[in-house]
Symmetry: C2
Subunit: 359 residues, 2 copies
């Protein structure tokens, strides 16, 4: 979950605007999505009383270090819960044109990137998200050549795509240059993705970029976006999916970050419904990522009209790609068994979405 790639509004303003509109916010944003409101500073955010937000919390002095208080970062999750990471040292804190950017060294998860108060990645568990969002689509098609990343300014998804030697062009459209700069400075294991000569970086709005792209250019598009409220809201609306579909080849694939099955079933249903109107086949997969809300993240995988894509049985298994397992660094999480397993859905989710999914 990286960067802001949508309509380019500043999250702060969007939220303030909505919040001051006669409590309209609570009508337009489902209650389970309130975590996104963490981008509103605590002083102003009277409407999200159940979220422990803010950059830091200071626990009881007795549980702190001798001679000083321990400092925790509260990762706002769902209303009614919070996940706190102990801060060893704040490494960077600034406001870009689009969002608050924070980097800190945590006690046990390595360095942590936070955008608008929400943890985007930690060094400990980024492997799960980056590897799954990249290889679920790329291992589902033969010899992907042109790939687009929407968002993904930290470079981690690029690092994963570059394992595929068949790929010739890796376009990335990230709206916030500060995310890229910060990643290059503090997250070299992710930013290494930018070093690949196949990567072409485009700073700007993804919808605009896609409108200018030739029709049918890409074999795969990976949408590595923020949560679908605020600036990234446009990225879960039908026109954006139509733009994505237009940019894909026949039989091309889309992989879109798609929330937690435990917390946001209705958003998942909405996204699948919208995709079904545009794509030939739509599937849902998920992965364990400890520092994301409820410890999981989902992906919607779609393919356009054209050659059939069997997402659940990778036609292009990573284990058979020359050097892919060790390119730049060893794979840590993904493998073909994990690929197939990712499409197994808990019964409660299957009940909600089974009728929407079809190939």
């Amino acid at each position: 979950m990286e960067g802001d790639v949508g309509i380019g509004l500043v999250c702060q303003n969007t939220m303030d605007g909505k919040a001051s509109n006669g409590n309209g916010l609570e009508k337009t944003v489902p209650s389970c999505c309130l975590k996104a409101m963490a981008c509103v500073p605590e002083d102003d955010a009277k409407c999200h009383s159940t979220v422990v937000s803010g950059w830091f919390s200071e626990p009881h002095p007795r549980s702190g270090k001798k001679g000083g208080k321990a400092v925790y970062f509260n990762n706002p999750m769902w209303p009614g819960e919070a996940h706190s990471l102990k801060v060893e040292k704040v490494l960077f804190k600034d406001k870009s044109d689009f969002q608050e950017v924070l980097v800190f060294e945590s006690a046990t998860y390595g360095k942590v990137l936070v955008l608008d108060g929400i943890v985007q990645l930690t060094e400990k568990d980024e492997c799960a998200y980056q590897e799954m969002i990249a290889h679920l689509p790329l291992c589902s098609i033969s010899s992907p050549k042109n790939v687009l990343v929407v968002g993904g300014g930290d470079g981690g998804v690029l690092r994963e795509i570059s394992r595929h030697s068949s790929v010739e062009v890796i376009d990335i459209c990230e709206i916030d240059k500060m995310v890229i700069d910060v990643s290059k400075k503090f997250f070299p294991e992710l930013a290494v993705g930018f070093d690949d000569p196949r990567v072409q970086l485009h700073i700007g709005d993804a919808a605009e970029f896609l409108r200018k792209s030739p029709e049918g250019k890409y074999d795969a598009i990976i949408v590595d976006s923020s949560d679908p409220v605020g600036p990234a809201l446009a990225l879960v609306e039908k026109p954006f999916f139509e733009t994505l579909a237009r940019a894909l080849k026949p039989g091309g694939v889309l992989c879109n970050m798609a929330e937690s099955m435990w917390l946001h079933t209705h958003l998942i249903e909405d996204m699948i419904s919208i995709c079904r109107q545009t794509f030939k086949s739509v599937h849902y997969a998920w992965s364990s990522v400890p520092t994301y809300p409820s410890g999981v993240i989902g992906f919607v995988l779609c393919s356009t009209e054209g050659p059939a894509v069997d997402f659940k049985n990778p036609i292009n298994p990573i284990e058979k790609l020359d050097g892919a397992m060790t390119h730049k660094r060893e794979l840590k999480f993904y493998n073909s068994d994990m690929h197939r397993a990712a499409f197994a859905l808990p019964t409660f989710l299957r009940r909600e979405v089974a009728s929407l999914l079809a190939s």
Copy 2:
């Protein structure tokens, strides 16, 4: 994760004893297991400065309700992190002969059971743990008849076992009667498991119970225990696994709660190694459970010498068992796809344990 079922020591005493022994605690308990030390009240626990422990924390007043402070329960996880659940109302708080028992109504996870400061279950996500720990073993063998639950005093595992009409006897050995009483009062959807006439309740120490059990009595044993430190430490030692194996029929199966793959790889390796010395085949599976540390919990599945057991491909699929999907309440999480998927291991874990696992 339920009750204390081991050697019957009071956690408080065990921990105090070790902690006062010239810092011996940090030598005997791996650093990643410090969460178990949350059973030591904060005032006394100088040694676990990185864990936010204690029953409650009170966040910044501005983020609380109007006219009062919001109260959060801090679920100690790994050193350096904590997961907080908002408390609506404390329903029960007492100390049994074995542990502190707390029940509260949370804002968004339903009622929560806490033992010695560690969340054991919430109404929102208990389905994942209970269904997986019960059906992974029971669906891997044909017509299970005699089943033993070690721990599991909340009754949730019993509820799941009772879906299997082939089962004739369900023994349960739980050391702490207060857990059962509390579950019957506050968690009727779990305690309903005790209503099954096939259930025979034994209050006491599991190792002692097993020593008195006839050899080869059980088709399946499910160990639904606390974390393997303190009172439950004996449950991850070789003699206990030998006792379990002795109580199983040839081709009988054991399913043992086995920690988080993200946090406790070394404990998983240890447990698999020990099991390999006693059992014919040993496998590792895992499930998403949002309120457990890192959002996952693992299971070690073992079978004794005798007819081969293919854990990864359930021979006794729940979908084909008459009425099993809806018995007492609808299945929420488990299904045969989830069963197979549970055995897919991330690459980092596979590297560590692949050489230990074999069938």
